[in-house]
């Protein structure tokens, strides 16, 4: 086993989160470290906390306690439930997220969707932003759709636009929350190909997915998350192939329908 001395890109410590005044515990003490270049796939049963984890990472949720640091800088911390969670919005800008239901802005065309944030947030010149946007769209095979509106696109096209939109801001980490779960099966591969493209360019990413085949092919690390805790964390051959934990094994069996 090689020792890695690189500083962690993401360091989550003792994350706790509950809903409804502490009634429903969603995250019960999550400790995860991501190294630069890591491609972490998070799998697990529904309600186990996977999506919440990503949403916390994106700064969309409050936490009860714990902390997250990103690239060595303090990012998210909380003094306790009921107190406001401190989120450093400057750090948040380095993270991009793509959601299950694309959430493109329906009243803007594809290219307008892409240039909105760079122009309004970073003050980028419209022409520069448009050029970058067109290049990205070409890379994803959507060059012809620049002027189209989201309603005119298929699910797979919308999702690829959503990924391009997030990439316009040059994120240092990409979060993918079940981005293919809402797609018709034949549209899934075009989106997964785009994500693989990003992977080949060494983009660090954290992916929540149900698609085990995709998980096997893209992950450098797999985390099995259930009941709000990290049950198993290791390379894909281990977690997906021969899991160490009983619970992981049960889950993998159910998903793959084969008895190990």
């Amino acid at each position: 086993m090689t020792m890695s001395f690189s500083l962690p890109l993401v360091k989550m410590q003792a994350l706790h989160k509950s809903y409804g005044d502490g009634a429903v515990q969603v995250l019960k003490g999550i400790d995860i470290e991501m190294k630069p270049g890591d491609r972490v796939v998070v799998i697990g049963p529904s309600g186990g906390g996977k999506s919440t984890l990503l949403r916390v990472m994106m700064g969309l949720e409050q936490i009860d306690s714990g902390s997250v640091s990103f690239d060595g800088k303090a990012y998210i911390s909380s003094e306790g439930r009921g107190r406001k969670t401190v989120i450093d919005t400057n750090v948040r800008r380095s993270i991009g997220m793509v959601f299950q239901h694309y959430t493109l802005f329906p009243h803007l065309s594809v290219i307008q969707n892409l240039i909105l944030a760079p122009c309004k947030v970073r003050g980028e010149a419209r022409a520069t932003a448009e050029n970058r946007a067109r290049t990205l769209l070409e890379r994803f095979g959507l060059g012809a759709k620049a002027k189209a509106y989201p309603a005119q696109l298929s699910g797979g096209q919308k999702q690829r636009v959503a990924i391009a939109r997030a990439l316009m801001l040059d994120p240092k980490l990409m979060l993918f929350d079940e981005v293919t779960s809402a797609l018709d099966p034949e549209l899934v591969s075009e989106v997964e190909q785009v994500i693989m493209q990003l992977a080949s360019q060494n983009m660090p990413m954290m992916i929540v997915t149900h698609d085990m085949w995709f998980a096997k092919n893209i992950a450098s690390r797999v985390i099995f998350c259930a009941g709000g805790v990290v049950v198993e964390d290791g390379p894909p051959e281990q977690v997906l192939g021969s899991p160490k934990e009983e619970r992981t094994r049960e889950f993998i069996d159910r998903v793959f329908h084969i008895k190990q």
């Binding site: 948040r92 800008r93 991009g96 959601f99 959430t103 493109l104 802005f105 009243h107 944030a117 309004k120």
Partner: protein
């Protein structure tokens, strides 16, 4: 009894003027009322409890009382409170604008609330500050979504405008009633008046479904 529609020939011009008054009044109140309604709709969805409460009272009151009493109140009571004489046109505009403001605020409130939280999530994920989030993402969608219901609101306003005849304003209804009384031919005159209102309101209500089908379908909003 015999119907004689030729009596109306003498009164074509008078009816036309009455109709113009009605249309002018409706147009002015649509503009003012929608603007007011938009602001009140924003107030109703704001984070300030005080704003929500005050705007809520205004809306509930104007939706929960007859427009006629609102009109009478403005016409008879407002001059006494302000100490100035108000023409019936001004009274009509004030009353109908306040009414239109209340009903359109509900329309805007519903459309603002119908924008899913995922849109806000996407804005946060892109790092859009709240100001941009509101002006570039939420408001445009809210306005577009509100358009069909707003058209219905406009038709409602057009119908309620007939009430200004009760405070002596020479709109289509007032003129019609006068002619009807003068000629003692209510059937012909009032039927024509009703038809004029119908001919204007009916295409507009049908237009609502057209708008919904075309524009909103195109944008899947």
């Amino acid at each position: 009894m015999s119907l004689d529609f030729s009596v109306l020939a003498r009164f074509e011009h008078a009816l036309f003027l009455g109709l113009m008054t009605t249309l002018q009044l409706t147009a002015v109140c649509i503009l003012l009322g929608c603007s007011l309604g938009f602001l009140v709709g924003l107030a109703r969805t704001s984070r300030s409890k005080a704003l929500r409460f005050v705007s809520g009272i205004y809306v509930e009151f104007f939706r929960g009382t007859p427009v006629l009493i609102q009109l009478f109140w403005i016409f008879f009571c407002l001059p006494l409170i302000l100490g100035v004489e108000l023409t019936n046109f001004v009274s009509g505009v004030v009353a109908l604008t306040l009414y239109m403001g209340a009903i359109t605020s509900e329309t805007f409130r519903a459309s603002l609330n119908s924008i899913g939280p995922e849109q806000v999530d996407a804005c946060v994920a892109l790092g859009l500050p709240r100001r941009v989030q509101v002006t570039s993402v939420v408001l445009p969608q809210a306005v577009l979504r509100a358009v069909p219901t707003l058209l219905s609101n406009c038709v409602s306003l057009f119908k309620e405008s007939a009430l200004v005849s009760a405070v002596g304003m020479a709109d289509l209804m007032f003129v019609g009633q006068n002619i009807s009384n003068n000629t003692a031919r209510p059937v012909e005159v009032l039927t024509i008046v009703a038809l004029i209102y119908f001919v204007i309101a009916f295409p507009l209500t049908r237009g609502v479904t057209l708008v919904e089908a075309r524009i909103l379908k195109k944008l899947a909003i």
